[in-house]
Symmetry: C2
Subunit: 339 residues, 2 copies
Amino acid sequence: MRQLDVSKLKALVTAIFEKVGVCPEQAQIIAQTLLEAEQRGVHSHGVVCVTRYVDLIQKGFMKANMEHEVLRSAPAVEVWDGKRSNGQVLGYYAMKRAMEKAKSCGVGMVGVKSTNHFGAGAYYAQMAQKEGMIGIALSTGSPTMAPWGGAEKAIGNNPLAIAVPTREEIPPVLDMAQSVVANGKITNMMKQGIKEIPEGWALDKEGMPTTKMEDFYSVTPLGAYKGFGMSFMVDVLSGLLIGGGVGFEAGDFKDGPGIMMMALDVAAFRDPQMFLSDVDHRIQELKSVRKAKNSSGIMMPGEPEARSFAECAQKVSVLPEIMDSLNDLARQLGLEPVE
Amino acid sequence: MRQLDVSKLKALVTAIFEKVGVCPEQAQIIAQTLLEAEQRGVHSHGVVCVTRYVDLIQKGFMKANMEHEVLRSAPAVEVWDGKRSNGQVLGYYAMKRAMEKAKSCGVGMVGVKSTNHFGAGAYYAQMAQKEGMIGIALSTGSPTMAPWGGAEKAIGNNPLAIAVPTREEIPPVLDMAQSVVANGKITNMMKQGIKEIPEGWALDKEGMPTTKMEDFYSVTPLGAYKGFGMSFMVDVLSGLLIGGGVGFEAGDFKDGPGIMMMALDVAAFRDPQMFLSDVDHRIQELKSVRKAKNSSGIMMPGEPEARSFAECAQKVSVLPEIMDSLNDLARQLGLEPVE
């Protein structure tokens, strides 16, 4: 892994997007989401995405600057056509709008069809969390899983992210793919030349479990039929419900994924101060139970990522292969690479 | 298993609740939810619950008839104090209210604190589904799981149910506990004298995997930390957010669980006819992929239960031990047992 200065890397990523026509404000949003993923240790959704997004912009599958049209509007709901704009930028503005809706109705949902890869869902859920709300972010994805019982990839491992505010404790953030591990985790291992996959993560072309990278075909749904069921529900809520892409239609070179941003205004449900105290208390209660044999301790959802974020305030580790590609791209665009 | 006539069994369950003071309308709601669970093959949430609920009514932990107070109200949100009324009846009326809110705002959320066990969440989610809406039902539960990494039970395997309407296909219903299998499934096996638990289902007092019924202590969270994370989020959304019981406070003899009912009015998001067609099409697409080796086929969430429901229109199978307890209770209350 290569150690890089966060601010330099962020400046490079911002500059790259500006070079391909993204306005400074939106380039900043994209860079911010990708760098935060790196700092949180979620390398599969970090700067590895830059070359992919630039390629999509250059090929005309991603608009350099956001365009959107409001298709439907109800007091607590809005649905947009994202017109293949950048997923991070759409996610950012859709969550902002969901939070406005939540302020007036208690809950707000903003769905966007025809988007692009939104990176780590945690980012949008945390936007609400930072305002004292509960944030939920969903996205369809192109197929990485077979329906349970099947042997052909047909459904994404559709992420679900939920973030909850606290008073003193680390705010919990669940950001999970509906597979045992994210597809990107296995493809990142592949890039590092790793030949063995841990048991339970992967299936081969016959839909049978495999630990050999060379036989890797699809990721295993979490809890078998339950993970498949959850993925289907994410397909419905962030795809079919708003006319967004599901399955192969959610792919980079098709209609792109659909996303759903949801915010809950705690004050509509309960006194926010009592809520924050109760969340803190519940976290303390759960973390203080006796440890399992051989356990290194109890972690709340998002706690490892929050610890990584704090440790990586100044510097992040990036795979050499990923940095090489990023610097190659920088040079092509006439920018100074970072080391 | 004993074969019983659905209408006779339902009449008995209704009569039992009326005998302990429940009004006919509400006794009917309770009986309907329990019988539907039996017909759907979800025996852990069927008539096995009757003796438990009657005991709670007799001991004063469950109100015979619903009382509730509206604590908070926003255009799309309502929060009730359920005053320890019956969980099925509160769930039924809370989902009705959530559907009204959804009709005016696009989405409606109604949370109830101080409830009681609501049985199978699928029932409430399906209420919305039957009206062409998407229904979501959540409940906290008393501890059956240890936090991941811990060895002491401190969190429920908090159910999440989501139901989606269709045009022609079987409407998908996901109703899942956040553990590999529901706690009730293992305790039902215990009642049948089964000594071995399938691998991966259960943990012992040290938080280590076990297959011995005698060492069974807690259920394994689905996908390890992910299932724990999901359970925590259900604790937040249907518990802490509305001041409802979580952990031991969600127990029958404490404050009882909190529940959250949510309905989405499809028309606020998209043309409902196009939505229904797309859901049908997506189901067909997923079910038609090539089968995995040794697979018996691809089932959508809730499909096995829907098939069981159709087969059990007239008769259901109930464990002899459960029927014996139910008939004992009937006799005690001066009612005719059913055979």
